[in-house]
Every structure is written in structure tokens, then in C-alpha cells.
């Protein structure tokens, strides 16, 4: 019932190589738990367009939208109504694991679905205004330690969101109580940028792909990337937090899940399809176009990642007093 089908704009002529190792079902669908244009939409389109371009599916995969509770409505819909539908994949991200850890997806936990795989990632960044006196993470953390009340930290989400978690990590590394951070909940990365420029906040939390262009344009300064290794492209000169002596990552993976009652055979055939997809040149191109960094974890490995994330976030949330 609650399904709004907007046909994905798909190019190319389908079905040229019909029967060429078609592991995925004949008819497929990707569910995005948000409005068109958001992160889940990007995730769905990555799968839909690259699967078609790599000729792993015959017919275009339509993207459907079901907004509500940052994916909560879609999660409940899949678990409750389409749990055994092998044709449906649903977009998810680190944010989904975070909400699951906080019990914000309703009565269901992370075991109610089958986690298929992640095809790309973005990473957390810590930014300051371009005229800020702080040039490294160390400068910032030292200054923060001295006068935590002078540092309003802004992010694109509420208390408990990914950006808030990044702020809490900074506070923790400065031996401060995360409960006492002066966190400003703004609406998205654009608002973080404006608030930094206006001097209303001193530190901003955000994501690498979005902030990279502002960093390049001189509108913000990225102090550290919360990734295990340096990111390629615009940010290759920006050191990671780890290089600066702070052991924290923030991986924003973009992945998919299947219904919890999908058979092992169907699950495995999706896993095989994704493995093939990840190796195709068409996929790399599609991923880059969407501003995502390489991050491919599929099948059982991905299930492990999600469970670990949920566990980690539960601890973080408890420490932060949520």
C-alpha cells in the first residue's frame, strides 16, 4: 500500500545479453527509505544503474520511495510485509545501524533482516572555519581541553545522530564528558558551513564527499579525515585522524539488506551478483559519479560489520548517556 513507484531514469537498452549469468531475479526493486534525492536514493541508484550497466540484470531496476523516520518506515515495511520477497533490496547506511542501536527502528532489531552488502562509503570529517587558528586535530583537541565551553560544535543531525557521535568522540579524546558538549543541531551540511562562516559554531562535523568541495573552494578547513587511510582525490593532502594520533574512524557505509525470510539460495545468488558487480569497470565509474569512496563488503562479512557497528554504537550511546 505505502509504495510510491517512481520509475528510475535508466539508460541503455536492456536485454542484449539475456541469459548471460543472470544470478539476480528477473524482476528487481530497490526501496529507498527517504525522499528522492537523499542518501538512500543515491544508494539505490548506484545499485540499479550499475547492475544494469554491467548487464547483471535484464530489465531496469525501479527505485521506490518510502520516507519516514530516516528509514524506519521502510525497515518496518520490509520486515512486516515483504520479509520473504527475494526481488527487493533496501538501501541502508551506517545511520541505520546507529538508529537500530538506539532502538529507533521500532520493535525490530538488526537480526530482522538479511544484510546483503555495502558497495561504497563516505567518511566523517572534522572541519573549522578557514580563518580558524587551529590547523591540526591536536591544536583543536588541546584548545578544547582548556575551555570546552567556548566550543560550540555543529552537525547536521540531532543529539544521537552520526554528527553528534563525531562531536562526542572529540570530546572524549579531550577527556571531556560527552554529555556536556555544546552541540548545535543544524539541518544538513550547508547549514554547518553557514554557521561556521558566521562564527556561530567553532567546530563542524560532516562527511568527506560533501565537505571536500568546500575545502577545495576555501570555505572550510578540514582538520582530519576519520578514515583508516588517506582518501584519494581532493583530500589526498589532508591527514587522517589516525595519522595525527587519534584512533577514531567514522565509516559511513552505503549498503543494502534483504527481507529476513529470504531463502539462503536467494541470498547467495544476490551475494554472487554483487561480487560480480564489484569487479566490473562499469560499477567503479558509477560509484565515483556518486561521490562515494571504494568500500566493498559483501555477504557474511557485511553481516559481521553491521552487528559490530550496532554493538559499538550501543556502547558509545551508553557512554554518552543517551
Amino acid at each position: 500500500m505505502k509504495k510510491l513507484v517512481l520509475q528510475a531514469a535508466v539508460f541503455g537498452v536492456a536485454g542484449v545479453l539475456a541469459g548471460a549469468a543472470l544470478a539476480a531475479p528477473e524482476k528487481t526493486e530497490c526501496l529507498a527509505g527517504a525522499k528522492p534525492g537523499g542518501g538512500f536514493d543515491v544508494t539505490c541508484r548506484l545499485a540499479a544503474n550499475s547492475l544494469l550497466a554491467a548487464k547483471l540484470i535484464d530489465k531496469p531496476m525501479p527505485v521506490t520511495y518510502m520516507e519516514g523516520g530516516v528509514g524506519a518506515v521502510a525497515y518496518n515495511h520490509v520486515v512486516g510485509k515483504r520479509s520473504s520477497d527475494p526481488t527487493l533490496i533496501t538501501a541502508a547506511s551506517t545511520g541505520s545501524a546507529l538508529l537500530l542501536a538506539q532502538g529507533k527502528f521500532g520493535q525490530y532489531d538488526e537480526n530482522a533482516v538479511r544484510w546483503l552488502g555495502a558497495l561504497g562509503a563516505d567518511y566523517g570529517v572534522i572541519v573549522v572555519a578557514p580563518d580558524s587558528p587551529y590547523k591540526t586535530m591536536k591544536d583543536l583537541v588541546e584548545a578544547y581541553k582548556k575551555a570546552p565551553n567556548d566550543f560550540a560544535i555543529g552537525g547536521g543531525g540531532a543529539v544521537g545522530s552520526q554528527d553528534w557521535m563525531k562531536a562526542a568522540i572529540i570530546a572524549k579524546s579531550a577527556n571531556q564528558d560527552p554529555k556536556k558538549i555544546r552541540y548545535v543541531a543544524l539541518e544538513g551540511g550547508g547549514a554547518v558551513l553557514t554557521a561556521l562562516q558566521g562564527g556561530h559554531i567553532k567546530i563542524g562535523a560532516g562527511e568527506a564527499s560533501e565537505m571536500a568541495k568546500h575545502h577545495q573552494a576555501g570555505k572550510v578547513r578540514i582538520l582530519g579525515v576519520m578514515a583508516p587511510e588517506r582518501l584519494p582525490g581532493d583530500l589526498k593532502d589532508v591527514p587522517t585522524a589516525k595519522e595525527q594520533g587519534f584512533d577514531f574512524d567514522w565509516v559511513v557505509w552505503r549498503g543494502y539488506y534483504l527481507g529476513g525470510k529470504v531463502s539462503d539460495a536467494d541470498y547467495q545468488s544476490w551475494v554472487d551478483t554483487f561480487q560480480k558487480l564489484a569487479k566490473s569497470p562499469e560499477f567503479a565509474k558509477e560509484r565515483e559519479e556518486r561521490g562515494l569512496y571504494p568500500y566493498t563488503v559483501i555477504g557474511a562479512d557485511f553481516e559481521k560489520v553491521v552487528r559490530n557497528d550496532v554493538k559499538k554504537f550501543k556502547t558509545l550511546a551508553a557512554e554518552a548517556g543517551l
Partner: protein
């Protein structure tokens, strides 16, 4: 000043597709404005979901909605003049002198003069918007959470003191809007509020649901209730071309009306009805030496018409630069931007020049189109007035339900829309205006989030709300608009009290 955004905008607005969309918007807008029951908010509320579902890009949707908005301000005058029933809220004052003119057999002239002054008001308003908006958007960087919060206080102060004759009902409407805005995910703490464990309520009450319920459904119910329409339509007879002398006589009134309209439009929270009322009374004070106002004076017709069209442009200034609506209609358009995942605010000019520029350019083009359409085609538009309710009411209901379902695809949304519609109908019967509810709803979220963010920055210290120059100026302005009407009415009573003594 850097006006490159405007040239980008013209190239967007002049693309064949957007030109057609603009034309359709203006045409529908004039019809919607002419219909006594439906105003620009209804038109926009009904067409927004359709445009969104058709997959129009954001800038095209904004061009369509802006066309409807400006078209409705033109169309409203038609029923005011011919029927003595205002076509929308902004055209109330137009009837005062427009209808007497029509009764004197000068309906054609009245329509042309009001059409011309609408055009002048509209164009001057857009020129103001073109130059004023980038200035304000530069200033907007200085707006932090504290300043935004005080700006909201100012908006509510203007609303309470200026709208209509029932400030208490206006404020109650605002409070209802504020309360509705608290449903859903709390943007600061991330907690769910008043959602009754219903995930669909997690994002709060959907804007489209609220707007269509409050405006379209309740309107349809009111129309069902009042089957017989009272007034009789005056036929357009006599000369259709205005006398040159009349046009010249109106120049001052039109220019003053345009300036007043633009300024009132820029003030957050006030709309066309306030602008036309202020300009009419101002004009009466300045020009009415022979007591001809209210008996068919062309100046009393030109001033409010210029004002309500200038308001439409002025209301875009705070919407595009601060993300704060200047009127009920721009509040709905703000909701439209959010539907497209576009966060309005100071960064909009820099990040989406094609959208802001395209919208402003389309207002220039739209006003020219509307002038061309409205002079010769006024006879066609006046036919709309004879449209029977048995076509109109089911049409509105169908469009409402299809619109809500196509954007949110949920039965709960439709049930909520109907429920809100019934409540809206009851409130309207009790004499409440719906626009303050919408403004309370939109401004309420901004106000709450910014207050809490401001206090988060200061660590709970309230003095942050009085620190910057911007905040202090806004506090003073808020106090002034809240107190001024009382002072004025007290003075008016004093004058009245002393007048008889002087006579005796």
C-alpha cells in the same frame, strides 16, 4: 552588485519548457484568483503535489508556483470588481472602490486600471526583490541561532498586531500551528514526540497534508454549506479602455502602493491582505480630499492592487534569503522546497543560483505575461465566476486526495488530511483564519530549533538572545509592532473624543 544569478535565472526561465510552465502557472493563477472561494494558497497546495509527482525539477516547480502566486494576485481583483466578493484575501480593499466603479457602468475601465497598477506593483516588487535579496542574503550570514529566534519573535509580533481585526484569534491560530509543529522527531534531542509509536508520524505532520487539509478540504466543505452565491455579476459594458486622465491620476497612488506593498511583503509573517489594507488607508489619508474614496475613486482601486502584487514579490525576500516565509503562500512554497530536499537559507543563493535566479526571472516574465493576458482576456476570466459549485467542490476533493496520495502514498496521510480539514472547517466557522496556523507551523520549527541551539551554544545562558546588534534591533522592532497598534487606536479614540468638543 553581482547580478549574475539573475542572468543565469533568465536562461533557466526562458527555456521553452519553463516558459510554458510559467504561462500555465499565470493562467491557472488568474483563474484561481478570480474564483471567490479559492486563493493562491489553495491553488499552490493543490498543484504542488501534482508537479512534484510529475517529476518536474525543483526550479520548474517553483516557477509554476510563483506563476500561480502572482497570477492569483491579478485575478483576485476580477471578482472584487464584478461581484463585490474578494477573489482572495489581498483583494478585499479592491472591492471598496472597484465595485462602485463597476456599478457606474465603468467595469471595463476599472479592470484595466487595476490590471495596469497590478503590473506596476508586480514589476516594482520584483525589481526590489532583485536588488534587495542578495543584500539581505549577505547579511544573513550574521544570523545565528539566537538571531533567528528573535526574528521569529518579531514575525509573530507583526502577525499578532497586523492581521485582520481579531488579533486574539490570529494568535490562537499561531499557537495551534506551533503545537502541530512539535509532532515527530525532535530535531535537537532526536526523541520522538507525540507519535503514538506510529513510524509514519516520525517525521511529523506532513506539510502537504496539513496545507491541503486546512485550505482545500475545509474550503470545499464551506462551499457545500453555502450553496447559493449572493451577489450578482456585473456585465462588462461601456468602454474597456481606461481614460488617460485616470491613469495619470493613479500614478502616485500606484507608486506609493507598490512601495508599501513591497515593505509589508518583506516583513516576515504578513501578507497581501495587510499590505492592501495599509496602502488603501494610507492613500485615503493622503489623497481623499473630496470624500470620493469608497464611491468609485480610481486611486482607491489602484493603490491596493499595486500593493498586493508588490507584496507577492516582497514576500520572497525573507523566504529566499533567510528561509523564513513572508506570507502564508510563501510558507507553502518553502514547504515545496523542503519536499525537494532543498534546505532554504542563506546558502541558497550561492548553492542554487539557477533556482533563485530562475524564480526571480520568471516573476519578471510572469508579470509581462499576466498584463498581456489580463487586458484582453479579462472577459474570459470573468466567466470563471459563473462556474457552479457542483463542478468545483468534487474537483477540489479529487485533486486534494490524489495530491496527498501521490506525494506520500499512505492511507494515514489521507485520513489525517480529512481530519485536519474537518477541524479547519470548524475553526473557520468560528472566525479563525487559516494562514496563522500554517505560519505557526513553519515558523514554530525554526523558532524551537534555533532557541535550543542558541541555548546549547551559550550553555543555557539566556543573555545570548540579547547580545548581537541584529538581535537587539529585532527585539526593539518586535516591541514596536506589538505596541504600535494600541497606541494608534488610543490616539484615534482621543481624536474622536476631542472632535465633537471642537465642533460645539
Amino acid at each position: 552588485m553581482d547580478l549574475s544569478y539573475l542572468w543565469t535565472g533568465f536562461s533557466v526561465a526562458l527555456s521553452p519548457m519553463n516558459l510554458l510552465i510559467g504561462f500555465v502557472g499565470c493562467f491557472l493563477g488568474t483563474m484561481i484568483g478570480a474564483l471567490p472561494a479559492i486563493g493562491p494558497i489553495n491553488g499552490i497546495a493543490l498543484l504542488l503535489p501534482i508537479a512534484y509527482t510529475m517529476g518536474l525539477p525543483a526550479e520548474s516547480t517553483m516557477i509554476l508556483l510563483a506563476g500561480i502566486y502572482s497570477g492569483a494576485e491579478y485575478g483576485g481583483r476580477i471578482s472584487s470588481i464584478l461581484l463585490n466578493v474578494p477573489g482572495d484575501a489581498g483583494a478585499v480593499m479592491t472591492a471598496l472602490d472597484g465595485n462602485p466603479l463597476a456599478r457606474q457602468g465603468r467595469a471595463g475601465e476599472a479592470l484595466m486600471i487595476s490590471g495596469l497598477s497590478s503590473f506596476v506593483g508586480g514589476i516594482l516588487g520584483v525589481v526590489g526583490l532583485t536588488f534587495f535579496a542578495p543584500l539581505l542574503s549577505g547579511l544573513a550570514i550574521g544570523f545565528g541561532p539566537a538571531e533567528y529566534f528573535v526574528l521569529m519573535i518579531f514575525a509573530f509580533a507583526t502577525l499578532g498586531s497586523m492581521v485582520g481585526s481579531q488579533p486574539v484569534k490570529t494568535l490562537i491560530g499561531c499557537v495551534i500551528g506551533l503545537m502541530l509543529a512539535t509532532v515527530g522527531l525532535d530535531a535537537t534531542s532526536g526523541a520522538y514526540r507525540f507519535t503514538f509509536n506510529e513510524p509514519e508520524l516520525g517525521d511529523g505532520i506532513e506539510f502537504v497534508v496539513l496545507v491541503i487539509g486546512l485550505f482545500s478540504i475545509s474550503e470545499a466543505m464551506l462551499m457545500l454549506e453555502h450553496q447559493a452565491s449572493g451577489g450578482s455579476i456585473i456585465k462588462i459594458a461601456g468602454r474597456t479602455f481606461a481614460r488617460w486622465a485616470d491613469i495619470v491620476r493613479c500614478t502616485g497612488a500606484t507608486l506609493r502602493g507598490s512601495v508599501i506593498g513591497f515593505i509589508v511583503g518583506v516583513l516576515p509573517g504578513t501578507g497581501a491582505s495587510v499590505a492592501s489594507a495599509v496602502s488603501y488607508t494610507t492613500e485615503k489619508r493622503i489623497s481623499d480630499r473630496d470624500g470620493t474614496f469608497g464611491k468609485g475613486d480610481v486611486r482607491g482601486l489602484a493603490a491596493p492592487e499595486a500593493a498586493n502584487n508588490a507584496t507577492a514579490a516582497g514576500a520572497f525576500v525573507p523566504m529566499l534569503t533567510l528561509g523564513v516565509p513572508g506570507s502564508g503562500t510563501t510558507a507553502v512554497m518553502l514547504g515545496a522546497l523542503m519536499l525537494y530536499n532543498i534546505q532554504p537559507g542563506p546558502q541558497l543563493f550561492a548553492e542554487r543560483p539557477e533556482l533563485v535566479g530562475g524564480l526571480i526571472a520568471s516573476l519578471y516574465i510572469g508579470n509581462v505575461l499576466l498584463l498581456i493576458m489580463n487586458l484582453p482576456l479579462v472577459g474570459v476570466f470573468s466567466r470563471v465566476l459563473t462556474l457552479p459549485n457542483w463542478i468545483l467542490v468534487p474537483g477540489i476533493l479529487v485533486l486534494s486526495i490524489v495530491g496527498v496520495y501521490s506525494t506520500h502514498a499512505s492511507m494515514l496521510s489521507i485520513l489525517m488530511m480529512l481530519g485536519i480539514g474537518v477541524v479547519g472547517w470548524l475553526l473557520r466557522k468560528l472566525g479563525f483564519d487559516m494562514a496563522p496556523i500554517i505560519l505557526g507551523f513553519v515558523l514554530g520549527r525554526v523558532m524551537e530549533v534555533n532557541l535550543r541551539n542558541a541555548l546549547a551554544i551559550s550553555g543555557g545562558d539566556l543573555s545570548i538572545l540579547f547580545q548581537s546588534t541584529i538581535s537587539i534591533v529585532l527585539w526593539i522592532m518586535a516591541a514596536a509592532v506589538a505596541i504600535l497598534p494600541f497606541v494608534l487606536s488610543w490616539r484615534a479614540r482621543q481624536v474622536k473624543a476631542t472632535a465633537p468638543q471642537l465642533l460645539s
